[in-house]
């Protein structure tokens, strides 16, 4: 098992188009160390497409965990689509909805409550 490189963005566009029926604007996200994630802008909706890190990783497990977490009341992305292994991309694929807002590492709007108050 070896770690895979990025895939061609055209292949990602083709996959996402097949799922949504609309051609999205695709951009590779720079956050994260290990996961390969693409942002999909489609009309006024945003989703994220994640690829398995290796050709053996099956993101169905992650999809099940997200769904179970959601059922338990944890606010997590909703699963739009999952493919255990996509031949053309050569990897497992998971498409999720976007979580609103910014991560705590980036937010800088002064809206945080101050500890102890």
């Amino acid at each position: 098992m070896s770690r895979c490189s990025d895939v061609r963005s055209e292949a990602v566009v083709a996959y996402a188009t097949g799922v949504s029926g609309v051609v999205p604007e695709v951009s590779r996200t720079l956050e994260g160390v290990s996961s390969v994630v693409y942002r999909l802008d489609c009309d006024d909706r945003v989703a994220h497409l994640r690829l398995g890190e290796t050709d053996e990783e099956n993101l169905t497990t992650d999809a099940l965990l997200l769904e179970r977490s959601g059922q338990l009341g944890v606010s997590v992305p909703e699963v739009i689509d999952v493919d255990p292994f996509h031949e053309r991309l050569g990897r497992s694929v998971l498409i999720m909805t976007e979580v609103a807002g910014l991560d705590l590492g980036r937010c800088d709007d002064g809206s945080w409550p101050v500890a102890g108050t």
Partner: protein, 308 residues
């Protein structure tokens, strides 16, 4: 999943502030479950290890306060979280060290970024707690001295009248700043030798703590007849000590003090300070080597030691 520590829970595994989302001051969601795994009950080691790296300020204390504000949440074991952070950080560092040339590793940025949070944790109060609770003795060597500055003028412990060099004073001032940042030192004890006393005075001023002078914290004795006259004689005795593994060979007494004798006198001192949380022990490289096995502590270098 049973473990030696109990039953592991399934947890996020990569839980830090880059995976927690907010909008207008309210939590909106959690992402990136790619590292999900069985772990200790509280999956906060990763969060602590990388706290302050990306957010504008550290958030770990806020996280603990959040847990504490939830009635149904169990009490967090902070020491276990710190241990988990140290374990994770060590694993990450080991993985990266396997990919680089070890002789130049210290200069490689990715290695430095892995070492810094570990170093910070190990030298924090939380790190001390995680490594076994309170009662930590910070054995520290005095600042630099020029042992050959007055050749032939003194004999034996007379040489121990030598003060710090200007560099030694700066080293002691830097050490004082470091200890003030830690914020956990509640006692200072010092060897009676001038170089240690001068170092301890500088710490005392910065930390606003009195210095207790302890005779038995003096440096390892290179010549029990007290007749040595310069640094050269000391270095020769030290070389023989090292060659003998720190102890006199069977049936062969030497003039130098064996490590076991150093440990006995220093342990007697430390026992008297066992009720303190963290004690700064200003002493000598020979004492630190006898107590910990770590030789050649640099001037104002610091080695944590737990009594008993």
């Amino acid at each position: 999943m049973p473990t030696s520590m109990g039953v592991a829970d399934l947890a996020h595994g990569d839980f830090d502030c880059t995976h927690i989302f907010e909008a207008n001051g309210s939590y909106t969601g959690l992402i990136d479950f790619g590292e999900i795994r069985g772990t200790e009950p509280f999956d906060l080691g990763h969060f602590l290890l990388h706290d302050g790296e990306t957010a504008r300020w550290p958030l770990f204390d806020d996280l603990l306060a959040g847990y504490a504000s939830v009635d149904s949440a169990p009490t967090l074991d902070v020491a276990a979280i710190v241990r988990s952070a140290l374990q994770l950080g060590t694993c990450q560092l080991a993985r990266w060290m396997n990919r680089v040339d070890p002789t130049t590793a210290a200069t490689i940025p990715i290695i430095q970024t892995r070492v810094e949070p570990l170093d910070h944790l190990l030298h924090s109060k939380s790190g001390s707690v995680a490594l076994g609770g309170f009662g930590v003795f910070l054995l520290m060597r005095h600042g630099s001295v020029d042992y050959d500055a007055q050749p032939g003028r003194f004999r034996g412990h007379g040489i121990d009248l030598l003060p710090l060099t200007p560099t030694g004073v700066v080293e002691a001032e830097d050490l004082a700043v470091l200890l003030a940042k830690r914020g956990d030192v509640d006692a200072i004890i010092s060897s009676p030798m001038t170089r240690s006393l001068q170092t301890a005075m500088i710490l005392s001023w910065r930390l606003q703590l009195r210095v207790q002078v302890e005779l038995d914290l003096h440096e390892w004795v290179p010549d029990l007849s007290q007749q040595w006259t310069d640094g050269e004689a000391t270095r020769n005795a030290y070389d023989e000590l090292r060659a003998c593994g720190g102890e006199w060979p069977p049936g062969g007494e030497r003039l130098w003090e064996p490590h076991s004798a150093v440990r006995r006198r220093v342990e007697r001192v430390l026992q008297r300070y066992a009720e303190f949380e963290t004690v700064a022990v200003v002493c000598h490289s020979g004492v630190i080597e006898a107590m910990t096995g770590i030789p050649h502590t640099k001037p104002c270098g610091l080695v944590p030691y737990r009594h008993g």
